[in-house]
Amino acid sequence: MNETKELIKREENLPESSRQIPAVAPVVDIYENDDEILLHADMPGVKKEDVTVNVDNGKLAISGVRHLEASGATNWEEFGDVEYQRTFSVPQSIDVAKVNAELKDGVLRLHLPKSEAAKPRQIEIH
């Protein structure tokens, strides 16, 4: 009897194994001009509310989770639920407060404006 109890307890104590969705790095383009750095990332199927962008301590972390609505018998499946995540080092000269992001047609576009001090300046010769 005691042993049965132990068995039940043991079952309850086992760490729950939840289904983890695979994480992949999205492909990105990074552009820069005098005013800002521009980052484009492909995240097909990710909804706006499932995207997070974090800038912290010189690190830019982007993440997007995709949940597909699949129904019916599967003949083939080459893509499924996935978490896109990737981290970049960004220079301290980025004005974090003015970072803005847009998501359109499965492409995340991030604008990272440079702070005034970091912009190149033309020095005039007197």
Binding site: E3, E6, L7, R10, N13, L14, P15, P22, A23, V24, A25, P26, V27, V28, D29, I30, Y31, E32, N33, L38, H40, D42, M43, P44, G45, V46, K47, L68, A70, S71, G72, A73, T74, N75, W76, E77, E78, F79, G80, L103, D105, G106, V107
Partner: protein, 148 residues
């Protein structure tokens, strides 16, 4: 006694977790930067899913950044051809640090599991995923057979 077994069990559990993480490390690495990374498989073709819903076939394809004008879908009987192209969108006046997405054009063709009614096919494009609903042709639909 059981408490000790439990401990050993946990230890193995932790080792399994470590092993699965290690395995994932390599597959993720391969998926992210190896051949066919991102949303494309070999030769720059988009990834697709095909579901059979009884009276219709549903096809989904990853086409991030493509507008509906850049996609072309052709159906003939049970043959479907999906083609599209994306221009490289280097913005004016920017220099690039990293270009992984680039321009591409692709054509991918499929043999569908059954004949479809091309006139009633619907296609929608949302968040970079193209979804095609292809109603099966009358002859290919599943039929209920009554036992006499």
């Amino acid at each position: 006694m059981w408490a000790r077994v439990n401990d050993i069990d946990r230890m193995f559990g932790a080792m399994d977790l470590l092993r699965s993480r290690m395995n994932r490390l390599f597959t993720d690495f391969g998926r992210s930067y190896g051949e066919g990374y991102g949303w494309q498989i070999a030769d720059g073709l988009p990834r697709t899913n095909l579901y059979d819903k009884g009276d219709e076939i549903k096809i989904m394809a990853e086409v991030p950044g493509l507008s509906k004008d850049e996609l072309d879908i052709k159906i003939q009987g049970n043959y479907l051809e999906l083609s599209g192209s994306r221009k490289s969108e280097v913005p004016e006046g920017y220099k690039f640090h990293r270009v992984e997405r680039g321009a591409l054009s692709f054509t991918r063709s499929f043999t569908l599991p059954s004949e479809v009614d091309a006139d009633k096919t619907e296609a929608s494009l949302k968040d970079g995923i193209l979804t095609l609903s292809l109603p099966k042709a009358e002859a290919a639909k599943p039929k209920q057979i009554a036992v006499k």
